[in-house]
Amino acid sequence: MTSSEEENELLMRYLDGRLDPNDQARVAELLRDDAEARAFLRTVAEQAVVVADVQRIGQHKPQSAKIVAPEFRPWKWAVAAVAAFVLLVAFVIATTPPRHVAKVSTIIGPCQYIGADGKVQDELKAGTELKAGDTIRTRSSRAWVELSLDDGSVITVAGRSRLRLLNVQTRRGFQLAYGSLWATVVQRAGSQPISIQTPTATVEATTAQFDLEAHSLMSIVRVNDGSANVVRLADGQAADVIADYQAVVSLSRRQEFAVVSQPEPVNVWNCSLLAGRGAVFGKILPATAKQKSRLGAKPMLIGKKATIYAANFSVQCSRSAPVMIESGSRVRIRGTTRPGNPVYFGITTQRIKGGFFGKYICKIDAGALGQASEPWQIEMDLGHFGPVDGMEHLPDLPIGMELTDIWVFSKEERAELEIHRVEFLPKEIGQ
């Protein structure tokens, strides 16, 4: 046997998936270094697909028909009529698009349902079925809702978000007006792709796991599995975003529409320039001599006669790399409040390259916030946080997860909560 024949047989074994690691390495080396081996592999691949093509064509060649004289048999006509009716019914069933519905499978925190008919409900229960035209709002930093679709796909919205089911032809349409969404889209026979519209983009997927953050001027899409087609609404530019890549879709054409690989996770993040980097909810306050960056808590109506005063800081919006939560990670926040009011701090987490994970909260009493009207700085390790009510099934600490956002709120307007700096820090050296 010549060396070339032996190598060709080795490639046959490789294509059959029957090589041990040593031979796999040999094939890799052979293909890297030997143009003839690569040419042979290409030849085999071409021949394989053409063989299949020739077979396919052969199987679809018309067969010669045997012509017989028609003979009238009433029972045959009856059977044929029934069969035709059954076929017609089957055709109608098969071609009628499935109803686009989503079932609320989990609900935590204040949410609102606005029906397609305009009916508003402040209480929403698990099991509620949403149909095209219905809207769901998660109304607080600690709120989240998980929706299950008929084919097993799952969509989660969290924080301050608004999602509406749309009637889009050949798609299961959604509109994310603002907020955060995590989608795991699976493909099952007959299921339609999912299409999500934001103020700046349309995201479509057949099989994918991705997360999406939508604001009025910008959307961020990160694909962790499969692929999603993203269209910028401002100019119609489109791109396929595959696993481990992300796209920032701005309304402004001056911002380039580009698909880039997701950066490697880091373990530190800060949002010191609050107005420009990552503050996605809050009121920008004028600078003072002592403090240049000030973000005031904004009122957030979370239910009937219930308002909180909140500020929210998103890691993705700050254009940071993904931030990984490690054992010993700390949250440090600087701000001011009027005395006598506790402040609540929270974090939202997701799985690294995966879906929504959960929310954790920590309450700091007024006494721990220092002197009246003096700026305070609170540093908390993750041990201070616990899962929000209703998520007690979560582990005590979200170690190994990714930080999505940090939120701060007070239940009292008179607290006059304002935030000056937000930091996420790694474990202290020597800890």
């Binding site: 060709n8 046959m12 074994r13 042979f40 697909v49 299949a52 692929s227």
Partner: protein
């Protein structure tokens, strides 16, 4: 070799399933038609098609919870580049020549290729079905592919008409 066969072949190298490779080619063609981006030339379109086919192939494997094939992406890229470069060579009629050559194969050889590539049986299964040793299957396949390659070259070398 026409571009359809090449793109399908590139997808097949990832998924090792001729029917999936055909589906992937069709998806790529659909994307190319609906894409709002224009390609500077045929080469750019072909490069895009190979990359898209490769990604779709990897996605296809992931959806089936299969690990992507061990052949690393750098080698796949090199194979694709060679396919793109080959386009500019004297390869007109190769696809038709290959189909002719397959049509001229003895029935036994055709049956072996069909079992392996159309029915999608692993070589071990084919060996059991035909009652011959696995090594002999590899040898026969390798020689068949080589013979088809030679047959194409002979046909292309003949003057037209």
């Amino acid at each position: 070799m026409n571009q359809r066969d090449r793109v399908s072949a590139a997808a097949w190298l990832v998924v090792r399933d001729t029917h999936a490779a055909e589906d992937i080619f069709q998806n790529v063609a659909l994307k190319a038609m609906t894409k709002e981006v224009r390609f500077e030339n045929e080469g750019a379109l072909l490069s895009w098609a190979f990359i898209t086919a490769r990604r779709e192939g990897i996605d296809w494997l992931r959806r089936r919870k299969n690990e992507p094939a061990f052949l690393d992406e750098a080698i796949l890229e090199q194979l694709e580049q060679e396919w793109v470069a080959e386009r500019f060579g004297q390869d007109a009629g190769r696809s038709a020549a290959l189909r002719d050559c397959i049509g001229e194969l003895p029935a036994k050889s055709c049956d072996l290729l069909k079992r392996r590539y159309f029915d999608g049986y692993a070589c071990e299964d084919v060996a059991q079905q035909l009652g011959i040793k696995l090594d002999a299957i590899y040898k026969r396949l390798s020689r068949l592919h080589h013979a088809l390659k030679k047959c194409i070259e002979t046909k292309l070398a003949q003057p037209a008409g």
